[in-house]
């Protein structure tokens, strides 16, 4: 065995261990009697889990929630991509902002800000409406399936956008133009040509959204649970953390089916993206396609775009800042202004658990992302450059973990760690994070390696032996963007990680998102907002710093 294939095997073992072992634990655990994995074989857990009288309603909720929000996210993304690529709307840079900001604002904070706005008892927006129109009851109730769908749909829209927009951009406009020449108007062309040609990309986006929504924990826990609307993710959470009948086996039995569905969906997703690339035929005309003139529709559409931008980015931050300053929920007014103070901030900064969670999260973000990216470099290199059967397995494995719902895989990890000394330490979280989020590091690095591959071959062929120069001038500059974006992606995800952490975090290894969830369930909105703002500031400055370093390092 030569050294490169030995290294491939070593990597396969590491990645396989990280992705497969929690799944195996989950499987064993679901068939095991008692609390541990190694108990006697039993089907009791499955029987208990699937005969639960609540399950029907929970599945019903899950289906409505998942489909509703995926549909909303995909439609919004489709609308935005079309607006960006096919029309003469002004200020197109706004679309880029819409597609990258979700990295800055953690899902749990976004959900919280909507609760603060639209909860039926003292949501700010509801209070304003009551005052304006002299209403008795609140107009909106965020604690509903509709509310959950709205928030989750907005959160997942950028993911769908990142899939649909490139497909739309590389679409051969001649296909549309020839339809118009054949006598079809803009609308007919959109329905009969544009959308069908984009169908694989649209479906891929939709399916990825479904996987994300099934795994989503922030929205169901912050918005669903107070309204007693349980979906599978929160049902699993409730089974393992609330009340006296904690039952990990039952949670695993439910988790298995969530996992299986997710894996199947992610395989379909992969097939669809390959399919959509087949459809892409870039026009031979080198110019940007002639865009549709919006004319009178321009101003209203621009208004819609601005509203989305406001809702997605400005509003949540504003609400959090405001809530962190006022003593209790009240309508913004001069009275509110006069009562503003920094009490919540002081309390958070005095709270030892909040400080600990802050430290833990920063450590996990910086250190975890660094380890994760180093592993990703090796894995990406192996996948791209060493094309063997083993490296193929490696690729599939790292891809599959895209589909793993954090809370389900968390249960698997819990069993895995429980007998080891790292149980209930921050290291358990570190390993779990890396295992779950490694695809986000591998992705940008593989595309960097694909580029280097070509350049390296060409230059070494042309210039002969100058490996050091090649290294300095070609490999490093090409790898840096991949490393930077992979690192940023991982660090921001680790900083705000919730669904895996709610299972693995124990006293002493709390992280920010878990602490925020705790504040939310205690109704301590002021402190929550203060901590949330700190979280946003940290991740934003990390992103800014690393982007800056990335630019500086480019020779």
């Amino acid at each position: 065995m030569n050294s490169s294939s030995r290294n491939t095997v070593i990597l396969l073992v590491i990645v396989g261990f990280l992705t497969v072992s929690p799944v195996i634990m989950l499987l064993f655990g679901s068939f095991s009697r008692g609390l541990s994995v190694s108990g006697a074989f039993t089907l009791d857990k499955y029987i208990a889990a699937y005969t639960d009288p609540d399950l029907g309603e929970i599945i019903n909720n899950t289906v409505i929630f998942v489909f509703g929000s995926s549909l909303l996210a995909t439609l919004l993304a489709l609308f935005l991509s079309y607006l960006n690529n096919r029309t003469d709307i002004t200020w197109k840079f706004l679309f880029r902002i819409i597609s990258i900001t979700p990295m800055m604002i953690p899902h749990i904070l976004f959900s919280v800000s909507w609760v603060l706005l639209l909860n039926p008892s003292n949501g700010i927006f509801n209070l304003i409406l009551k005052q304006l129109f002299g209403l008795k009851n609140s107009l909106f109730n965020i604690y509903s399936l509709g509310g959950m769908i709205l928030v989750e749909g907005l959160l997942d829209m950028p993911i769908a956008y990142l899939i649909i927009a490139p497909a739309m951009a590389s679409f051969d406009v001649n296909l549309e133009e020839s339809s118009r020449v054949c006598g079809a108007n803009t609308l007919q062309t959109l329905i009969r040509i544009t959308l069908p040609v984009l169908r694989p990309a649209i479906l891929a986006a939709f399916i990825l959204c479904i996987v994300r929504c099934m795994a989503s924990f922030a929205v169901p826990s912050v918005i669903g649970m107070p309204g007693r609307i349980y979906v599978l993710a929160t049902h699993i959470y409730r089974t393992i953390s609330i009340g006296f009948a904690i039952d990990y086996g039952k949670a695993a039995a439910i988790g298995m089916s969530v996992l299986v569905i997710s894996v199947i969906l992610i395989i379909i997703y992969r097939y669809l993206t390959a399919e959509s690339e087949k459809y892409v035929t870039i026009s031979s005309r080198g110019y940007r396609p002639a865009v549709i003139e919006l004319k009178r529709a321009k101003v209203p559409l621009f208004f819609v775009l601005g509203l989305l931008l406001f809702i997605l980015i400005v509003l949540p931050v504003l609400v959090l800042v405001y809530t962190s300053l006022v003593p209790y929920s009240m309508i913004p007014s001069s009275r509110a202004l006069s009562m503003m103070n920094l009490n919540h901030w002081r309390e958070v900064l005095k709270d030892p658990i909040s400080i600990l969670s802050l430290k833990n999260s920063i450590f996990l973000g910086i250190f975890g992302a660094t380890i994760g990216i180093i592993l990703s470099i090796f894995v990406a290199y192996t996948i791209v450059r060493i094309k063997t059967r083993t490296s193929g397995i490696l690729e599939s494995l790292s891809f599959l973990s895209f589909s793993f719902p954090g809370i389900v895989i968390g249960v698997g990890f819990m069993w895995f760690f429980v007998r080891t000394p790292i149980y209930a330490t921050i290291w358990a979280l570190l390993i779990g994070y890396i295992a779950t989020y490694i695809p986000y590091g591998i992705r940008p690095l593989s595309s960097a390696f694909i580029q280097i591959h070509k350049h390296l071959e060409e230059s070494s062929r042309v210039f002969g032996a100058k490996p050091l120069t090649t290294m300095r001038r070609i490999i490093v500059p090409l790898l840096i963007p991949g490393i930077t974006s992979g690192w940023i992606l991982m660090a921001t995800m680790f900083l705000r990680e919730l669904s895996l952490s709610v299972v693995l975090a124990r006293p002493g290894s709390e992280v920010m998102a878990v602490q925020i969830l705790r504040f939310a369930s205690d109704g301590l909105w002021g402190r929550l907002s203060a901590l949330g703002i700190i979280m946003i500031v940290i991740s934003t400055s990390l992103v800014a710093l690393v982007t800056f370093i990335g630019i500086k390092l480019k020779p």
Binding site: D172, N174, R180, C182, G183, Q188, R285, A290
Partner: protein, 361 residues
Amino acid sequence: MEIQIKELSKYYYTDGKIIKALDNINIKIPGKRICTLLGPSGCGKTTLLRCIVGLEKPDSGEIKIGDEVVWCNKKGINIPTEKRGLAMVFQTYAIWPHMNVYNNIAYPLQIKNFPKEEIYKRVKKILNFVKLDGFEKRLATNISGGQQQRVALARALIAEPKVILFDEPLSNLDAKLREETRKELRNFLSELKITAAYVTHDQIEALALSDVIAVMNSGYIVEVGSPRQIYFNTTHQFVADFIGRANLIKAIVKSQKKDKTIVDSEIGTFICQKRDFPVESKVILCIRPEFIYLKEDNYSGEGNIITGIIENLVFVGETCEGEMSIGNKRLMIKIESESSLKKGDVVNFVVSSDHCLLVSD
């Protein structure tokens, strides 16, 4: 149906610069003929076609199709593409990948809500016409380039348009297939008797296919004429140089005879085709290499005789191409491939006065 274009201009603004893609174009594309727009890359052919079909908005001018004004800046008329009732074959064919061959072809009729049986009959007929019988169910992405080209043609023909526009429809085919398809296309179009505007930068394609050729250069139309006129009797240096190849020689008009013009050139005195240039004016003498013949020993005609030294000769199959020098001037020549001439030989050539073209300097 004829197409009339008056004072049409189209500008693009990129990086603060203005590109005049179309610069005051005037042309009448005759009805029921094949008219080619021929010109080098980037001269505005595609832009002109797209203006006609309505996919591009001109900055000024007027376009009339038949009796209907479809675009007029002054009157604010702009009939949208879908209402112009034209047909177009795109360079990339623009075959819809999500539909089979049948639906691709039937599309224009489906849009116009034709009854199903009528559509079926027409598609059958047209498939037979373009020799694609039995291809109905095939996915459009699973057929060859030549077949795609015919699907695109069938789709353009099915609604029986009065005018059909082609944008370099053969440029994606390989050389052999291109030649075959060109002949087929010529047959199709003359059989159907419809107006066709055909864009190409391939002069052979233009000469072989068209009834009328309009030669374009950087946004304006240089010359319009039949293929023979353009080839044999052009009055423009650009056209002489662009169509085929031409030796361009500086000359001065010496005298005007009844049906000939005599010039003094860098390489001697030539009797040329009659052109109305004033005596002593500067002109360019154009001689195509293929009209420079070897002088036979017993030659007694009135052609111009050139004596030169062979500089090089390359065997290219059907002929030998090369250069000869007369003093400092070099001329391209083309002689039969079995000739035994070699470098350094001093040879006499003849050029008939009909093949000596004069164009303005």
